[in-house]
């Protein structure tokens, strides 16, 4: 994680915030040592609860935008400028960094299903590598996003509902160095996740809102 923090600082020179989701290890100390600001949650809120904490911090302190990336090493800090390039080129409110080549067969099927269900034309729904502009930050910091559990379909549908423009851009990703996917952990977890997501989608579905944000370019990643 120290490498990720140092990499982001070297690439963008921006403020790096690490949210410690009530972990028992030295996450906070390691992150601070690497030069990051840390927020320590007194209770574990899960992946999205922790991410939203950072987003609320950014809103409270007047940041112009937020980039989220996983601290497990699968997101390459050097790929972050590509998100800004994509935002500059398309004027999108949200840019998602995806690596479609790295998707497993199960994920491809899952994403095809979710594309059909939500009408959001995205290649990867759970990629944690994202850029949010101020408008998106304001939406995601609100109470409407507080009962979500993952930074995925629920977040994207909330953004789409609020007329945010969402775009994807291909980026390089590495295998995780530590940890594992919280969603694709085991088959029962996946089944439960798909069931939750389906209900979430059915509750949120809106017939007039089936715009299809497209993948920018098609370069191999």
């Amino acid at each position: 994680m120290a490498r990720v923090v140092a990499g982001v600082r070297a690439t963008l020179g921006c403020q790096v915030l690490v949210v410690d989701d009530a972990s028992g290890d030295a996450t906070g100390a390691v992150a601070r040592h690497a030069g990051a600001l840390t927020l320590r949650l007194p209770l574990a809120l899960g992946a999205w609860g922790a991410t939203q904490t950072g987003i609320r911090y950014a809103q409270r302190n007047g940041f112009a935008g937020v980039i989220t990336l996983d601290a497990d090493g699968q997101h390459v800090p050097e790929s972050l400028p590509a998100l800004f390039d994509a935002q500059g080129a398309t004027g999108a409110n949200v840019v998602i960094g995806t690596c479609t080549r790295r998707l497993s067969r199960a994920k491809r099927v899952a994403w095809w299903y979710l594309r059909t269900l939500t009408g959001l034309g995205l290649g990867d729904f759970t990629s944690g590598l994202r850029l949010y502009d101020r408008a998106a930050v304001n939406i995601l910091a609100g109470p409407a996003a507080s009962l979500l559990d993952y930074q995925d379909v629920g977040v994207l549908m909330l953004l789409a509902k609020n007329e945010m423009v969402i775009r994807e851009t291909p980026v390089e990703m590495l295998p995780r160095r530590e940890g594992h996917s919280r969603v694709f952990a085991s088959w029962p977890v996946v089944a439960l996740y798909m069931m939750h997501t389906t209900v979430l989608c059915l509750a949120q579905i809106h017939p007039g809102r089936r715009r299809a944000p497209s993948l920018i370019g098609d370069a191999p990643c």
């Binding site: 840390t38 320590r40 609860g49 904490t53 609320r56």
Partner: protein, 127 residues
């Protein structure tokens, strides 16, 4: 040997008494107390005057009247459960937002006070 009338009266009065006791002991607050007070009143009336059920069945056109309190009771339980989950969701949202705010404020406090965070403080004197 108890008659059906006495059994239902004992059950109704017992349940109503237990609920009233809890309401008066302040174990149930505000809207909950009102709801349970109504339930206590209903069990009391239906227990002591089972004829009400027969009369209600005739009025609503239900041939087998005794099933009526069961249907109404189950429906009310379902509504109550639904309300419970709605309240739980509200609490969960509040709890999450409070937790997040706490973490943010704690960080600001450290920054303003110039103090090291709690996990660094242990090896040096407070102050």
């Amino acid at each position: 040997m108890l008659t059906g009338q006495i059994t239902s009266a004992v059950l109704g009065v017992g349940l109503a008494g237990a609920i009233l006791f809890l309401v008066r002991r302040d174990h149930l607050h505000g809207p909950y107390a009102v709801w349970w007070f109504a339930v206590a009143a209903a069990t009391f009336v239906l227990g002591v005057f089972p004829g009400v059920v027969v009369w209600l069945g005739r009025e609503t056109g239900i041939g087998y009247a005794p099933v009526l309190p069961i249907i109404i009771g189950l429906s009310l339980v379902l509504i109550r459960l639904l309300k419970l989950d709605i309240d739980r969701s509200k609490h969960e949202r509040k709890m999450r937002r409070l937790t997040q705010k706490l973490a943010i404020l704690e960080q600001e406090l450290e920054r303003l006070g110039g103090r090291r965070s709690t996990d660094d403080v242990s090896d040096e004197p407070m102050g």
